[in-house]
């Protein structure tokens, strides 16, 4: 596998340095950590912190800025960050109004964030957390670790971040984040795998004409493999799976995210988006806002995911609020 890196063990550190140098007005690195924090931490708001393994850029550090995250913690590639680092992030952004942790539902992330939360609470910091589990490919039963958190996490950052920016209190910001989680669903697919630099070889293999449906953002297995078919047919398949889990009816309003996993050209993502819109129109569902691009990637994997979030008036308002971050910009009135 060809990669533009120096040494696998330095990739995380060098990436964080590069990000810091790219966006000095937005973020800075906390000394001796893999934590990036927002430059203008305004005094009077709830802090919003997220993070996870690296390899999903621009997630999560790219969402630091007004109306989204106050800090993001970067773990080793595809590995949860550790509690000490998360704790540093919490301490750095707490302004006495408490801190919300946005966690993706992976055993490692949940446990490391939980430990950090306990550490911060022992220091008297108020901490709340939400766990994002938008991926309908995984059965949400008591016999699994539950659904995974994928691209829908970015919409949680957006909306919880806007709620915090409006000065809402910790309980209300948490409730709002939970509302997003309850009303969004995603599903992805892959055309080709990715390689973790330290592992040196791809984490699965697909034949030239084969795709994997329901893949996770670390190359975890999906629901099944099938022959490559048209973009419309694949979109239909993912759409049907999402709607089977979260039915929509005529008159509903939604936000749509078509997320590229890294090696899929925007052209293809737009083709998918066209079909998603047609399918929603066919149901009488209105699309309030659309995001097409690379929001939550999986190293150099090719493929994409579709996320649909059903909106109410509060969520619409928060989604339309200003977000000014390196990786996501929305120009709003607030």
């Amino acid at each position: 596998m060809k990669k533009l890196i120096n040494k696998p063990e330095n990739a995380l550190d060098e990436m964080l340095e590069g990000m810091t140098k790219a966006y000095p007005t937005y973020l800075r690195r906390l000394d001796q950590t893999d934590v990036l924090v927002r430059q203008d931490l305004s005094a009077d708001k709830v802090g919003v912190v997220s993070g996870g393994g690296s390899g999903h850029e621009p997630a999560h550090c790219g969402y630091i800025g007004k109306g989204m995250l106050d800090a993001a913690v970067a773990g080793a590639i595809f590995t949860s960050p550790t509690p000490d680092q998360i704790y540093e992030a919490i301490k750095a952004v707490d302004r006495g109004k408490g801190v919300l942790l946005v966690i993706k539902n992976y055993s490692g992330d949940v446990m490391n964030f939980d430990m950090a939360k306990e550490m911060a609470e022992m220091e008297g910091i108020q901490v709340a957390s939400v766990v994002v589990n938008d991926d309908v490919a995984v059965e949400n039963s008591t016999f699994t670790a539950g659904r995974r958190g994928i691209a829908g996490t970015v919409l949680v950052h957006k909306i919880a971040g806007a709620a915090a920016e409006r000065g809402w209190d910790l309980d209300k910001v948490k409730e709002t984040a939970e509302k997003v989680i309850a009303n969004e669903r995603s599903m992805g697919m892959a055309l080709s795998p990715c390689t973790v630099p330290a592992a040196g070889k791809p984490n699965f293999s697909l034949a030239e004409d084969e795709i994997e449906i329901g893949i996770g953002i670390h190359g975890e297995p999906g629901t099944h493999r099938e022959k490559l078919v048209s973009a419309d047919a694949i979109t239909q398949e993912l759409f049907d799976r999402i709607l089977a889990d979260y039915p929509l009816k005529s008159g509903d309003e939604v936000a749509v995210m078509v997320n590229g996993l890294a090696s899929t050209p925007l052209m293809e993502l737009y083709i998918i988006n066209k079909k998603v819109h047609e399918l929603l129109e066919g149901l009488g569902v209105t699309v309030h806002q659309t995001f097409v691009g690379e929001y939550m990637t999986a190293l150099e994997m090719a493929g994409m995911s579709i996320t649909i979030l059903k909106l109410d008036s509060d969520l619409k308002m928060l989604l339309d609020d200003t977000a000014d971050t390196p990786a996501l910009k929305v120009i709003g009135t607030k």
């Binding site: 080793a76 595809f78 949860s80 509690p83 680092q85 016999f143």
Partner: protein, 211 residues
């Protein structure tokens, strides 16, 4: 009875054993997880070794606390908080203690398993490290009941953990990344159970070699 320098020796052997089995653990995780368990464990235990090299431990409890913090801060993944919790539980058992007895070892296994259950919201039979650790505790407790020697107690835990780890092959994973595979996880050994068995084997082997 074991003294502080012997416990340090056992922990060193533990770190070496993990390093030696790094590839093996990563391969096991590659089959049903994300192929990083060996990488995570070797990174964490390298810091345990560094902690041991630094020294300056007040007592056995302090030793386990410092090693536990090294694991929490450097393993990452799911196994970091779990192994970290296990070591911190051991630190509580050994609080202010200069030496360690066989009965303490049993208590450590018990409390470590309880800590992991709590942190991981998991239990026996779900194809995790608990399927090595809980049988090890039971075997060690049995051996104490039967009035066995300290070495026999350590060996009993080692054997039971190894059997438990192999036994995970026939289980369906219900926790961690492997649970996404459901039935397809059958036939593969759980990497966390394998590493737990290695850790307990290192303890028994260290003291056996001392004799």
């Amino acid at each position: 009875m074991a003294e502080l320098n012997q416990i340090i020796g056992a922990l060193r052997l533990m770190a070496e054993t993990i390093e030696k089995n790094k590839e093996h653990l990563t391969e096991l995780d590659g089959a049903i997880g994300d192929g990083d368990h060996g990488i995570n464990m070797s990174r964490g235990f390298a810091f345990v070794k560094e902690t041991l090299d630094k020294g300056g431990f007040q007592n056995a409890g302090d030793l386990f606390k410092k090693c536990g913090m090294a694991l929490v801060a450097h393993v990452g993944g799911a196994s970091g908080p779990l192994y970290g919790t296990a070591f911190l539980r051991a630190a509580m058992v050994l609080k202010d203690r200069e030496d360690v007895h066989a009965a303490d070892y049993v208590q450590i296994l018990k409390d470590a398993a309880e800590g992991i259950k709590m942190r991981g919201k998991s239990d026996r039979g779900e194809k995790t490290m608990l399927d090595a650790l809980i049988p090890a505790y039971e075997a060690a407790a049995d051996a104490v009941q039967q009035g066995k020697s300290a070495q026999e107690i350590l060996n009993a835990a080692k054997v039971a953990a190894a059997e438990g780890a192999v036994g995970t092959e026939k289980l369906v994973a219900q926790k961690g990344r492997a649970s996404y595979l459901g039935e397809r996880s059958i036939g593969h050994q759980d990497p966390g159970a394998a590493s737990a068995a290695l850790v307990l084997a290192a303890v028994a082997d260290y003291f056996a070699a001392e004799k």
